[in-house]
């Protein structure tokens, strides 16, 4: 009970800080803040899969890439607006998550990890080879369109519009996810995480609930990919690379698995570290690795997990 209130406070505070930062930050730092918000959506989604239903997927790069291409291709080929592009990204993400989920979710832990990783590698190879569709490593570049139709006053080429566009999606995603987790669905997820055999013998179709979690998680990944591509105004085969399967795990571990919003801390920490430290030290990831080890040594439940433990005494 106490935890819930603390987490809500933390989430509200984070979103409020993002809202204020939008018009106070200089443009360089603002791009960084946009990136943090986009990745936070990805990380929250990943937490639904790993933190809430114990599914350690290494295939989330697929959703990120599919969302990105869904958005960029719908602009390039169908001349949709930015909202239409996000919609296409989400739709593509949903379809892929459903198909992938039907194949993978049934598998037990280790096999699930391996098979998702392999399928993710296959998608990366396909994206690099199918240059007629994806543009390969060079990718596809688009001119940022209006939000929708001919409404050109609000275009993503305006960085402020871009910023609050992303913040809106972050807020909506958070509200939807937190609502679902506090509804009975969240309790069922917690039960499955606690002991899936017991959940099965209490009358729950564990496969179906894991599939639901996997799809929610995948759609969040696709949304994040779509927003990232719209912000950068391009998508390339690199969006499918294995890197995008690993970073969400790192974000969630740093921030605190199973807290939903803890990953905000993980994303912010990693992005800021990358942005500032990489300028003077090329092997910054080495330092970051040490930092992760230190954080997890102090608290296996990440930064927010540590705060929660302290908060509840």
């Amino acid at each position: 009970m106490e935890n819930k209130r603390l987490l809500s406070w933390f989430a509200t505070l984070s979103l409020a800080i993002f809202a204020v930062l939008g018009f106070t930050l200089p443009s360089g730092a603002r791009s960084l803040a946009i990136q943090i918000m986009v990745f936070s959506i990805f990380a929250m989604g990943y937490d639904i899969s790993l933190g809430f239903t114990n599914q350690c997927s290494l295939g989330h790069s697929i959703f990120f890439g599919v969302g990105a291409y869904g958005a960029i291709l719908s602009i390039a080929k169908m001349k949709t607006g930015a909202i239409g592009a996000v919609g296409s990204g989400l739709g593509a993400g949903f379809v892929v998550a459903l198909i992938l989920g039907l194949i993978c979710v049934r598998l037990s832990e280790a096999y699930f990890v391996i098979v998702t990783a392999i399928i993710s590698a296959v998608f990366h190879l396909l994206a690099m080879d199918m240059t007629w569709l994806t543009g390969g490593d060079d990718g596809i570049t688009v001119i940022p369109p209006a939000l929708f139709g001919k409404f050109t006053q609000l275009s993503l080429s305006n960085p402020l519009v871009n910023y609050y566009f992303v913040l809106l999606f972050l807020t909506v995603t958070y509200l939807i996810l937190v609502r679902m987790l506090r509804a009975p669905l969240g309790k069922v997820f917690a039960a499955i995480r606690g002991n899936d055999t017991r959940a099965l013998f209490l009358g729950y179709n564990v496969f179906r609930y894991k599939l639901i979690a996997f799809i929610i998680s995948g759609v969040c990944g696709a949304l994040s990919g779509a927003l990232y591509a719209l912000t950068l105004r391009y998508a390339s085969a690199d969006f499918f690379s294995f890197y995008w399967s690993i970073v969400p795990i790192v974000w969630c571990l740093i921030g605190g698995l199973g807290t939903l919003v803890g990953c905000f801390i993980g994303v912010a920490l990693m992005s800021i570290f990358q942005y500032y430290v990489s300028a003077w030290f090329t092997h910054y990831l080495l330092l970051f690795g040490v930092l992760i080890l230190v954080i997890l040594r102090v608290s296996i439940k990440g930064v927010l997990g540590y705060v929660l433990k302290r908060g509840s005494g």
Binding site: R179, A183, P184, V188, F201
Partner: protein, 255 residues
């Protein structure tokens, strides 16, 4: 065959299960009547838990049929069988470790009440029909003062009771208990036995138990399994005086 014995809650007809060359359950037929409490005993590896796994759908039998209330449930998935009114506990106590006692029971109660819309949009409140049922079950098993404690903070005996409470929450007509007093103190075992006796008035129960005294006290009929086969079935006195059973348990040669 279905509904052949309408008085029976559970009918198992000639069920067999092989693991490779090993026959774990060999052509077993087993019947449980309404509000009957039956004991299932036998040495380690006799196939008792395997029989439970076959009945509850955790394992698929190689041959044979299982009926619950006259409905064929052979090969159905465990969650469906559970929703039809068959509940069980496990030898290794399975609970939800990081949830409170209240939530553990709530999840069980919710499983037969879930609908797509309330799954996503309803709020979890501490009042209303489900909340009342949770408290009712807590009172029944004697955990009413510990509803807000996290499951792993309970003593092992109370965890065993919690698991029985969770099994009850799905509103079963038949309850399968797999060694409910294993590893608990004599005093806690006494609590659990008293609970089982109270429950036996409301539902059919099958009890796997190594403590013969408990089985003799609680159950009216006992079935003895050995090497996957039914060796003997009958009242407590018949089983106690059965020479085959004595051989299995005491290793007496000859007679």
């Amino acid at each position: 065959m279905a509904g052949q014995y309408t008085d029976y809650v559970l009918e198992v007809h000639n069920i067999s299960k092989h693991f490779g060359g090993l026959t774990a359950v060999d052509n077993v037929s087993y019947f449980v009547g309404k509000n009957e409490i039956k004991g299932l005993i036998g040495p380690n590896g006799a196939g008792k838990t395997t029989l439970f796994n076959l009945i509850t759908g955790y394992l698929k039998p190689n041959s044979g049929k299982v009926y619950l209330n006259g409905v064929d449930i052979t090969g159905d998935p465990p969650d469906k069988i559970c929703r039809m009114g068959l509940s069980r506990t496990f030898q290794l106590t399975l609970i939800f470790p990081d949830m409170t006692v209240y939530d553990c029971i709530w999840v069980g109660l919710y499983s037969r009440r879930k609908r797509p819309w309330n799954l996503l949009f309803s709020r979890i409140e501490r009042k209303g029909e489900i909340a009342e049922k949770v408290e009712e079950i807590c009172h029944l098993v004697g955990l009413e003062s510990r509803m807000d404690e996290v499951a792993t903070d309970l003593s092992y005996g109370d965890q065993k009771i919690l698991e029985i409470a969770m099994a009850l929450s799905t509103d079963p007509v038949l309850l399968l208990l797999d060694e409910p007093t294993q590893g608990v103190s004599p005093k806690e075992a006494e609590n659990i036995v008293a609970l089982i006796e109270r429950l036996s008035q409301k539902m059919s129960i099958v009890l796997i138990e190594h403590d013969i005294d408990i089985v003799m006290r609680v159950c009216r009929t006992i079935t003895v399994l050995n090497f996957g086969k039914v060796v003997a079935e009958g009242s407590c006195e018949e089983i106690a005086s059965n020479s085959d059973v004595q051989k299995i348990y005491l290793g007496v040669e000859g007679t």
